[in-house]
């Protein structure tokens, strides 16, 4: 039987704390940037002009069909060679994760908007609203309510995906856990603690999503 020794990790608490901060920081950055990309791609995907919606559709399809680990590695190693611009690991990682998340956000946002009954748009236009007013006053307020749970779900995925940043040697929670594991020869404790720390953040978050979803069902 393995002799678990968690107190041993206490001396590395600063590393773990640091890793957690980095993970949360990258997550927030990638969520915000991803949402911005998703909003543009999602609404743009509804444009009637093919010149606008076709490239956006291809962007969404392409990024959704590529494993995120492959994307991160490709953005770091291949893209700089392709465009001739050197990128730090941080920039490449944030770019890859934001665009990856953005593709999913875009689908959620587009789906939320088209799910609103066309009769709502008819009624708003019949009152004399401009297209922009119809969006702002009638469609988006209703769509947002529907989109919130799936958007939060996707954001949870986004946080989990930051664990892949360690492959580019970015000092996130997983990276620090690896470092501790190598140094102490106690990988079981180190990785268990890493897992518990992720769960500690994500469990309350998914609880909140669940609550929002059930509220929506009412």
């Amino acid at each position: 039987m393995y002799d678990w020794n968690f107190p041993y990790l206490w001396q590395y608490r600063h590393l773990f704390a640091n890793g957690l901060m980095v993970t949360v920081g990258y997550s927030l950055l990638c969520i915000v940037l991803g949402l911005a990309v998703g909003l543009v791609a999602g609404i743009g995907g509804l444009a009637k002009t093919r010149l606008i919606h076709l490239p956006l559709k291809w962007y969404v399809e392409l990024f959704r069909a590529t494993p995120v680990l492959v994307l991160i590695i490709w953005f770091y190693y291949a893209l700089p060679v392709l465009i001739g611009v050197a990128m730090t690991a941080a920039v490449a990682a944030v770019l890859a994760l934001s665009l990856y998340g953005g593709a999913f956000y875009a689908e959620i946002i587009r789906g939320g908007i088209v799910s609103i009954d066309p009769g709502q748009t008819d009624a708003a236009r019949a009152l004399g609203m401009t297209r922009f007013q119809v969006m702002r006053r009638v469609v988006l307020p209703q769509a947002l309510r529907r989109m919130t749970p799936p958007l939060m779900n996707q954001s949870i995925m986004q946080l989990k995906n930051t664990s892949l940043l360690s492959v580019l040697a970015l000092p996130d929670l997983v990276y620090q856990g690896q470092a501790v594991a190598h140094e102490t020869y106690r990988p079981l404790e180190a990785y268990t603690l890493v897992a518990v720390m992720y769960i500690a953040i994500l469990l309350p978050a998914s609880k909140l999503v669940r609550r929002l979803e059930s509220q929506r069902a009412d």
């Binding site: 009769g119 008819d122 236009r125 019949a126 009152l127 004399g128 209703q142």
Partner: protein, 254 residues
């Protein structure tokens, strides 16, 4: 008040409106009858440009729009919006805004489109709700209302824009039979006040009672028009006679 000339509309290869000509005098009530798929609703939607016609000329009050196929230069979004603000429309499925209270629904047009102050808009909205007999529901949400109540709110919402013309698109078709009367009552009062109206309806007896003119459509053309007595009472064409015969038979059966 309304003039329509040479109106045509195709959806793909399917011709919905062939060559519609129509005149509605100020204060007149016109009802559109006809089998489903005859183009009544499309015609109504063309009057306030929710559906953009392919060809023809439409005048509502002082606003006029001309369409000439592919050569048409569509007016901008704002011009279309201004044109639509001129006509009130009520839909079969109410289409109330579910995220707003009844009062907010009725205030929405004036506040957002006409930039009326909230205080004034609220006063007017409460008056209108009183007029349709729903002032006690002002703070409720549409989901809490019956179909008949929803439709009366929808009428109040359209009236809040002080339109020159009201368009009713089968507004009682989605209602339980016992709720139809309250909605027709509101429309009857509007007619008595001299509101110019076009109604698409299947309520034949109501059409007879309230209409100044009845237009019977089939396959995208006007086949008969005239007083209710002429069109409903003594239709000239065989197909129209059949339609009303079937309708009366259905009435007797129920």
């Amino acid at each position: 008040m309304i003039d329509i000339h040479g109106l045509q509309k195709k959806f793909g290869e399917h011709v919905v409106l062939k060559d519609i000509r129509m005149h509605v005098a100020k204060g007149a009530v016109v009802t559109l009858l006809g089998p489903s798929g005859s183009g009544k609703s499309t015609l109504l939607r063309c009057v306030n440009l929710l559906t953009i016609p392919d060809r023809g000329r439409i005048r509502v009050g002082a606003h006029e729009m001309t369409y000439s196929g592919d050569a048409t230069r569509l007016p901008g979004d704002r011009a279309l919006a201004r044109f639509r603000a001129n006509t009130g429309m009520v839909f079969q499925h109410f289409n109330l805004f579910p995220h707003m209270t009844v009062l907010q629904n009725v205030m929405e047009g004036p506040v957002t489109v006409l930039r009326t102050s909230k205080r004034v808009a609220q006063e007017q909205a409460l008056e209108l709700l009183d007029k349709v007999g729903l002032s006690d529901k002002a703070q409720q949400y549409p989901a809490q209302l019956s179909g008949g109540q929803k439709q009366r709110v929808a009428i109040a919402r359209a009236l809040a824009m002080k339109p020159q013309v009201m368009l009713f698109d089968e507004v009682t078709s989605a209602l339980d039979p016992e709720l139809v009367g309250e909605v027709l009552g509101v429309i009857r009062n509007l007619a008595a006040e001299g509101m110019t109206m076009i109604l698409v309806t299947h309520e034949m007896s109501f059409a007879r009672e309230v209409a100044d003119e009845v237009i019977f459509m089939r396959d995208g053309i006007v086949v008969e028009s005239g007083s209710p007595d002429e069109v409903i009472g003594h239709p000239q064409q065989a197909l129209t006679q059949q339609f009303f015969a079937r309708y009366h038979a259905g009435q007797n059966a129920t």
